[in-house]
């Protein structure tokens, strides 16, 4: 049972439809199998309005928006360990 309000709704829809848009793009570029065309107002909105709008936003802005959403990423997480000079 997920049910996480607006952010859950936004995340699940954007994840789903951005992936479909990516499948469309790969199909055009590589000849891979294409998803079926969108049908209904909901699919048309997400694929014809949301996905192209998201695509024109610069990555730093998209990244900032994603990081602004509530989640574990906003807690404390250690950076990957880095080498600290010679081992021997």
């Amino acid at each position: 049972m997920a049910g996480t309000g607006f952010f859950g709704w936004l995340r699940s829809n954007s994840e789903h439809y951005l992936l479909i848009a990516a499948h469309q793009k790969l199909a055009k570029e590589q000849g891979s199998p294409a998803p079926r065309p969108p049908k209904g107002a909901k699919e048309i909105f997400w694929l014809k309005v949301f996905a192209p709008t998201y695509a024109v936003l610069p990555w730093p802005l998209r990244s900032r928006i994603m990081r602004a959403m509530p989640g574990s990423h906003r807690q404390t997480w250690a950076a990957p360990p880095r080498s600290q000079g010679p081992a021997v």
Binding site: A2, T4, H23, S32, A34, G71, W77
Partner: protein, 449 residues
Amino acid sequence: MPRKTVIIGGGAAGLGSAGGVKAADPTADVVVYTENEDVAYSPCGIPYVHGGEIPDFERLFLAGKQAYVDAGIDVHYETAVTAIDTAAKTVTVAGEGAVAYDQLIIATGWNYADPGVPGGELSGLYYVKNIRRAMEWDKVISETKSAVVVEAGPLGLEMVTALAHRGVETHLIDPNPYALAMMADPDIMKPVEDSWRELGVHLHFNTTLEAFLGDDDGKVRAVQTSGGEIAADLVVISTHKTPENSLAKAAGIKLGSTGAIIVDERMKTSAPDVWAAGDVVEIPHGLTRTPLQGLTGSHAYAQGKTAGTNAGGGDRAYRAVYVPWGTPAGKWVIGGASFGEATATALGIPYVKGEAQGISRARYYPGVQPVRVKLLAEPGTLRLIGAQMVGGGEGIKERADFLAQAIRFGMTLHDLSTMENVYSPAIGALNEPIVVAATNGVAESKKKA
């Protein structure tokens, strides 16, 4: 007086937690509540018993019940926890009432996403998860002529292959244009799909489930899809994992955009003295920091160790993930780490690609197998951001593990194109496919510069 840690859930995260608590504080009272009849078995092994690769379910049990008694871990089987009160520091246990804790660890795992179509109450719908039920379903599979697998997620891939190996007429329906489309790339999955067709599997992509259709006895007889009706004696539901967050949500513990519990690097939740681990939590991706939920058993176990160690008074940090993954599918093994082309494209992350078709050992040595490697790197720096592979089996898992570490430590295509590799005819090729793919990626980036 020893501190009491209550753990809800007996899967990899729950038992990892129990071990972590005991390691940090051997005197601690550790109580595990599980709704199942067993703990310490591998649910991930179930499809391989169904497929005949593993001869019996007994082999999936990793430890007997006595092992936990000996370790001082009090496991309550077939016992439901129905509520958490973080203010009173109690859990409500069916048949026991309110049970106090000093520390609580939530490891309630996952459920299959509700298919959300009519007919969900019919018999003959198999949700692969519990080993005792799997033993019963295995007998059903023996008498099954035709089956439909709903959705080509990781478990769907394994069950399609397993049913085909059992000689069942198998149909796969999936709303996406190819299998495992939420994480893998179409070119990686193409050989897998071809091998399924060779096994006689009927693939129905871009096909949506509309209803389960039953007979007069309330047993499934077919599925209704956007492409028509498919007859089936058995339907395997392998929709995506959703976090089993109902207890946490009702207790007011904060959830993230994935619906899973928000935790920090110590697996601490928003509630005092409450930790969580496994599929019920979300963990940030190491590159984008986007939280992810529904990782693998190895992630769940390591998170459990972390939660348990910290709950026991120790100090242990879990880290953001780069998600090495892999599985057999059809006659191939597929795998990768971090982003593929489909997921990077979906997020709008630019990438340079390096690809190679190589071999797993010397070409003249018996048993040599193909290995296809695709590497994705950040343009300019050529820092690795993802990888996907398909091959005959040898070394796919090890390459995925290695490449996840390479991504984690910021290695570039330059680094990989000059890496050392094992050469010995029986186990390694002169030209390591990762090196060739990285070299090709460097050349590709120069063309684009």
